[in-house]
């Protein structure tokens, strides 16, 4: 028989106490895991919302103004499309997505309209999330913001209509469609090209509502201006923008004008900062409450065991042996409670998150190990003081109680 056996037997003997201890630890960890998962999901949801604000960095031709980007004058300056390749291969950190565009005002059926050439994949990916690979047939090799990996796989974020934009097809903004009298399936003639309308975009309240979108390369051919672009819209990671992404872009593309859309950037930075603080604040409070709950249980357990601690001291147990027996229990409860707590917290928030919170909550596998570690550390720390005090119980007092 070893002292660990004494711990094991005590655990089995006091099942009710074991269950209540496990419940205390399990609930503490479940709450921590649940809140962490919900916080992460909330951060993600906020990120998606922020991303929907659109590009936050514009790469314009040298000498072009933001006004020209919006008005798309016929003689607005352009730059070579190969700049896109330059950006992709530069290995810049913090560039989530690149969307090259060519914009020109033209007449369709006697109505002035802004024609915008887009690369379908990149246009899909630009607004919601990173997916820089979409720019060059899924092989772009760009870098993404920390914590946003995998977001592009989220089907909620895909705009399949644009992904399927062929050279003979076009998308029409809601206002433009009304002015031109177009509907899905209509054929619209732009200069010499006949384009089938494959979708009418929902109103966005932006300049996009007045535009007609067609394939970039088809538009370049149609206008006969070669591989030229009006703008590269960049979705930059807001922290990377803070860290000097703009000047890095200027170094890579010296013949361009790189500018940020400050309102979007500042909103993103502020919101991310707020979410980060909120997340850590909640974690701290939950840890404190969970830790106190576990410590309280261990304190009660040690007091319940005063008699046997007295017996062991009488028999000549070292204080370290008493401490070991008590802390071994905390260790067992921490490991088991951490595992069950992770499972419970994950099941609850993943299972009920969409119904109760209205957001998809994903499991956080990395928190499996963290939960066990956290529960163990908190249980051991919570037990340390009562165990240490127990090892110093006056054995004569305990024996006289016996």
């Amino acid at each position: 028989m070893k002292l660990a056996h004494v711990t094991w037997k005590e655990l089995k003997h006091r099942r009710a106490s074991l269950v209540s201890g496990l419940i205390a630890i399990t609930l503490g960890i479940a709450v921590i895991v649940g809140i962490r998962a919900v916080t992460r999901a909330s951060e993600y949801a906020v990120t998606v919302q922020l991303d929907s604000l659109g590009a936050n960095v514009l790469v314009l031709p040298q000498g072009a103004s933001v006004d020209e980007y919006h008005t798309a004058d016929i003689d607005a300056p352009t730059f070579p499309e190969e700049y896109v390749e330059t950006m992709v291969t530069s290995g810049l950190l913090g560039v989530e997505n690149i969307s090259p565009k060519l914009t020109r005002r033209t007449e369709v059926n006697g109505t002035s309209i802004v024609l915008t050439g887009v690369l379908p994949d990149s246009e899909v990916a630009k607004k919601p999330v990173w997916l820089m690979e979409g720019l060059v047939d899924g092989d772009g090799g760009g870098h993404v913001c920390k914590g946003r990996h995998g977001a592009a796989a989220d089907p909620r974020l895909k705009r399949n209509i644009i992904e399927e934009l062929d050279p003979g097809e076009c998308l029409v903004g809601s206002a433009a469609a009304k002015r031109l009298g177009l509907e899905v399936g209509s054929v619209v003639t732009v200069k010499t090209a006949e384009l089938e309308v494959i979708a009418i975009n929902d109103p966005t309240g932006t300049v996009d509502d007045d535009r007609l979108f067609m394939h970039l390369h088809a538009m370049q051919d149609l206008l006969g201006i070669g591989k030229q672009l009006s703008v590269i819209e960049v979705m930059g990671c807001c922290s990377a923008i803070s860290d000097g992404l703009l000047s890095k872009l200027r170094n890579i593309l010296p013949d361009t004008r790189v500018t940020s859309i400050s309102q979007i950037v500042s909103t993103q930075i502020e919101t991310n900062r707020l979410m980060d603080r909120l997340s850590w604040g909640v974690l701290f409070i939950v840890l404190l409450v969970g830790g106190l709950s576990i410590g309280n249980y261990m304190w009660a357990n040690v007091n319940q065991r005063r008699r046997e601690i007295g017996i062991m001291r009488m028999l000549g147990a070292k204080r370290s042996s008493i401490l070991g027996v008590l802390l071994a229990k905390a260790l067992v409860l921490g490991v088991v409670g951490g595992l069950i707590g992770y499972g419970l917290g994950t099941i609850v928030v993943v299972g009920f998150g969409p119904d109760i919170l209205g957001i998809e909550v994903e499991a956080l596998p990395v928190w499996l190990g963290l939960s066990v570690l956290l529960a163990t550390v908190v249980a051991v720390l919570g037990s340390l003081l009562p165990a240490w005090l127990a090892s110093r119980f006056d054995p004569s007092a305990n024996m006289q109680e016996v």
């Binding site: 002292l3 089995k12 009488m314 028999l315 000549g316 070292k318 024996m399």
Partner: protein, 227 residues
């Protein structure tokens, strides 16, 4: 001489009042002796026993074990002393409730670091000796009071101590069981030569010993442990 005290005193502070539980106590316990300590409630019997075990610190005097002073030992050294030299039999048995009889007897050996292969065979021998060979896997609550006390006696012998300190070992037993336990203690004392210091209220139990000490108000009024 196995154990001797000179001028042993123990003073408690009860609120603002100092209580002398032991005063100028001198005892001599020979190797293999069976000494009984009698006296009325509050006379200091249990205090004497706890002080000799290092579970209470004396306020005055000396304790010598085989000629060596031990009263100044540290807590850790006293714990080691108890593991090596002392066995205990208490009124309420003091068994760990979730350990079987066998495990309770093995516990002192575990604490003393006895090689693990030796623990169980020795515990089985000891339980056989106290006639509990068929109750080894029983928990204390599954045993009668007399059987529990016999487990405690087997446990007291686990590390082959020089001295067993017994505090009212028959206090919770009916007369028939009390006689059994006393007979067992006497037998072990005679067969093994293990010295026993037994605190008791019972004049009948006190007769079992080879020497007697009578305490009143913390002072020895008769006997000193020698026959």
């Amino acid at each position: 001489m196995l154990l001797a005290t000179r001028g042993l005193g123990k003073r408690y502070a009860r609120g603002r009042v100092a209580v002398d539980a032991l005063q100028d106590v001198g005892v001599d316990i020979e190797e293999g002796a069976f000494v009984t300590v009698t006296g009325p409630s509050g006379s200091g019997k249990t205090t004497l026993l706890l002080t000799l075990a290092g579970l209470l610190r004396p306020s005055a005097g000396e304790i010598h074990f085989r000629g060596e002073p031990v009263q100044e030992l540290s807590d850790a050294a006293w714990a080691a002393f108890r593991r090596k030299h002392l066995g205990f039999v208490m009124q309420n048995f003091s068994l760990v409730p979730y350990l079987t009889a066998l495990e309770n007897v093995m516990l002192p050996m575990t604490l003393a670091g006895t090689p693990s292969a030796e623990r169980e065979p020795r515990a089985r021998v000891l339980l056989d000796r106290v006639e509990l060979g068929d109750r080894m896997e029983h928990l204390p609550r599954e045993l009668s009071a007399g059987q529990q006390q016999r487990v405690a006696i087997a446990r007291a012998l686990a590390n082959n101590p020089a001295l067993i300190l017994a505090d009212e070992p028959t206090g919770n037993l009916d007369p028939a069981l009390a006689d059994d336990v006393l007979a067992l203690l006497k037998k072990l004392n005679e067969e093994d030569g293990t010295a026993i210091l037994m605190v008791t209220h019972s004049p009948r139990a006190a007769e079992v010993g080879t020497a007697r000490i009578h305490l009143e108000a913390g002072r020895i009024v008769s006997g000193n442990g020698t026959a």
